[in-house]
């Protein structure tokens, strides 16, 4: 494998020395492009009691292409599907090489606090969300208690 680009080394160092509040990202020792991520649910959201596991992978072309990020913890959210895939513009068409691992993780955390059922990935969840928001929020809270780690 080619040596790790300086940018990835710098980003990793800063993630460790100056972590994003509520987010922990640790690279695998045997693959420094693969990160285990722990993300606290944002306060005043149905996810606030939980800590969610994600995986983040930096493809060969990073930063010309976005990191690949996926929730490993089951989560009830209109923009996150059953496989943990995330519907977020900055991970797709709105990626820019000036964005970083930390800014992407912050965007994902912000998405937890601001679900967008009009641009869904998980269709059924989005339908529930639009039909009965308070019920959907209650389900999200239950799933958080059931599947996420406690804060």
């Amino acid at each position: 494998m080619a040596s790790l680009p300086k940018r990835i080394i710098k980003e990793t160092e800063r993630l460790v020395s100056d972590p994003v509040p509520g987010i922990k990202a640790v690279p695998h020792e045997d693959n420094l492009r693969y990160f285990d991520v722990l993300m606290e649910g944002p306060s005043s959201s149905p996810y606030e009691s939980g800590v969610f596991k994600l995986e983040l992978f930096l493809p060969e072309d990073y930063p010309m292409v976005a990191p690949k990020v996926r929730f490993l913890t089951k989560i009830y959210h209109p923009n996150i599907d059953r496989l943990g895939r995330i519907c977020l513009d900055v991970l797709k068409s709105n990626w820019s090489p000036a964005l970083q691992i930390r800014t992407i993780l912050l965007s994902i955390q912000a998405l937890l606090g601001a679900p967008n059922p009009d641009d869904p990935l998980a269709n059924e969840v989005a339908e529930d969300w639009k039909k009965d928001e308070s019920n959907a929020i209650e389900t999200a809270r239950e799933w958080t208690v059931r599947y996420a780690d406690k804060k």
Partner: protein, 188 residues
Amino acid sequence: MSNYNDEHGIGNSQTATPARGGVGHASQFLNLVSPEHLSRTPAGDSESQLDLGLENGGEISHQIAQQLLSAVSEGGLEFRTDLDDNEMFKSPQKGMDQAYFDSLERINKKKIRPGQTCPICASEFLEDPYPLLVRLPCHKNHVFDLECATSWLKEHNTCPICRTELDKPKKAVAQPDSEEDEDMAFFG
């Protein structure tokens, strides 16, 4: 420090160059217009010849290579060709073209603050004794290594920092049609 392609493991060892930007960057163009590269165009392959803008492949390609060589040795990088479209600019629909990269404002390293880094590769500009830097027209602080900016803009039309669509203002100012004629005249 190594160049963008090295750092990101893209490109290949043939075109890998010792330093970020500068002559190293130019030599990639020279590799691509080397006689071996062009001579694979068979005489009957009119499409390739059209792309290259060549009437009779080999001979003119040598001339162009010579022009590029002398431009580089004089320190100028006025590549007025789109010879490399097929090799280097895989999706021209969405990205910017070579003429656009040529037109970008070059920034002298004297204008760079110590510690200032390229937003794309995160290397300090001044680590390279001969940095080849460009400023995008959207903002005075939107400075990048030419190589990094090119890697992004050949497939996208937006500033990495502010997402300004860089082909919009250009269209308003310049007339793409007349520019194209000029390029053809260069080859003709």
